[in-house]
Symmetry: C2
């Protein structure tokens, strides 16, 4: 099989041996696989994949058709349309995924859209609900809302009946985010728009002091992206005064038991939103597998709305 | 009535009009009232009491006998032994407390001990269980364990079946804390003793980086005291990597509904520990009301094990 492959800090598309499904795993003919920030880090050598994941094939999510099943598989059979998060290796013609972390692809989604769903919607759902306990009527601020996770979070917030504010640096993207029915603002001076019950941080530590200022009493800040900077001052007296929660989270390093739980929550709480039309998958650009290097360049360039997806 | 009173940044004992119980309140003849760090801040002008609390009489907890009841009181009657947290005014011959925040005094406790229970045990219980979700078998680190809240937290941790480590600066106090059946260590180099699932911070921000280093994956840090310093650097990437929770909390500023819930939890989960002998109230020193200034000096001097209590 052919796969996007990390060679000397760059992406090439080369031939690999076909993977074989182990107990509980599905072998999937991949039709689409989204790019994520962690892929860039891995290409640059900063984010080694966890044990068991292919060392040189990036890709944290996939959508495709089940080709064959390992032993002790009960949930799916060959021919089923599945999607899900994987610890690596998704950007290839063939990939394996444990059946507990796989989800059925809703009828309403084509392959390209499905390839961009698992990572960002699972990450956003986990952060907003499992981590931050976002509830109807609460005020949500999403920093960096034009990216994949941000667009998923904004939509999930609206679908939940939260009142959503979104910071978007790029002016054109800001207009498009506002079209989702939320208050889209420039990051500059965001703290004046509070108080917020939940703040989702996808940008960096430079927002931390403003986040604490803008937080309501009992508010929760969840940090899942710090690409623009990881270190900041923090005034713990303000944290106490607000009775605030500051929480960090990542999905990739979790054990399979926890990832399986996120997949069940996705099936129950998120996938129905694609059927009802409450949720869409914003795809900024898609590329065939052979143009994976161009896809990575596009992803790096930023100023995009939603996902970059490989069609395979 | 006479009361400890703040005059020009110092404590005097002077005459005040008797308070009158409003709807739902008990008028209590106070027999004992503990000192707390927030009293010192209030004396120094740094911690104004919330609206409704006496402006110049400190005291966040009391134990005493019900003298009379306001309208719509149903839980207590004159003659009952009660204790509880108040927003201020506890260090006086008479004080009012809402019946929903009052608890019965367990038979096993004398007045002096009872006067030192409400603030520290409510604070410690709320922080460890309601905020941090401490569970049996988890590893707990308590910073500043020789103080009132620290001693309460250490005992509640042991009673819960957690594995408890306690930092204590003063060597003599450290030996006494170790006698509670926990690992008592010097704060220097505490991070080497991890990983911990829950860390209770009662000292200051200088521990924050070490706390994050010493935290287990999925661990929770609860900050409820920062007397030694409130500001620190924080590396949010480490927070993400550990999937850590950093939470600040205070009790005093909460609305009465929330304080009432803490009192119900105390009745259910903490007071039985005094009957069973699992919990003791460490009283470092007690003073009659007239010697309140000396009690405040003793509290300020530190190097004490447990509470300083006024006997009234």
């Amino acid at each position: 099989m052919r796969a996007a492959t990390i060679r000397d800090g760059r992406i090439e598309v080369v031939e690999h041996p076909d993977p074989e499904p182990q107990d509980g795993q599905l072998l999937v003919r991949v039709h689409a696989a989204g790019l994520n920030g962690a892929d860039l880090l891995q290409v640059a050598g900063h984010y080694p994949p966890p044990p068991g994941a292919p060392a040189d094939i990036p890709g944290l999510e996939l959508a495709g058709e089940v080709v064959s099943c390992g032993r002790r598989v009960g949930r799916f059979e060959p021919g089923d349309r599945v999607m899900g998060i994987v610890a690596g290796g998704g950007q290839a013609e063939l990939a394996v995924i444990h059946e507990r972390t796989a989800m059925p692809v809703p009828e309403e989604l084509d392959w390209t859209a499905a390839g961009g769903v698992p990572e960002v919607f699972t990450t956003a759902h986990d952060a907003l609900f499992t981590q931050a306990g976002l509830a109807v009527g609460e005020r949500l601020l999403v920093h960096g809302a034009a990216g994949g996770v941000g667009m998923a979070a904004v939509q999930l917030g609206v679908m939940t009946g939260a009142r959503v504010t979104a910071t978007v640096r790029n002016e054109q993207c800001r207009t498009q985010v506002a079209a989702l029915g939320v208050q889209a603002i420039d990051p500059e001076g965001f703290a004046d728009y509070g108080p917020f019950d939940v703040i989702l941080e996808l940008v960096g530590a430079q927002n931390l002091t403003g986040n604490l200022e803008a937080l309501a009493t009992g508010g929760r800040i969840v940090v899942i992206g710090v690409g623009a900077g990881a270190v900041s001052d923090i005034d713990l007296r303000m944290l106490m005064h607000k009775r605030a929660v500051l929480r960090g989270s990542t999905l990739r390093s979790r054990p399979i038991e926890e990832k399986a739980i996120t997949a069940r929550l996705m099936e129950k709480m998120v996938l129905p939103g694609f059927a009802s039309g409450d949720l869409i998958v914003p795809v900024a650009a898609s590329y065939p597998l052979d143009e994976a290097p161009a896809a990575y360049d596009r992803f790096k360039a930023g100023k995009k709305l939603g996902k970059v997806v490989l069609e395979i």
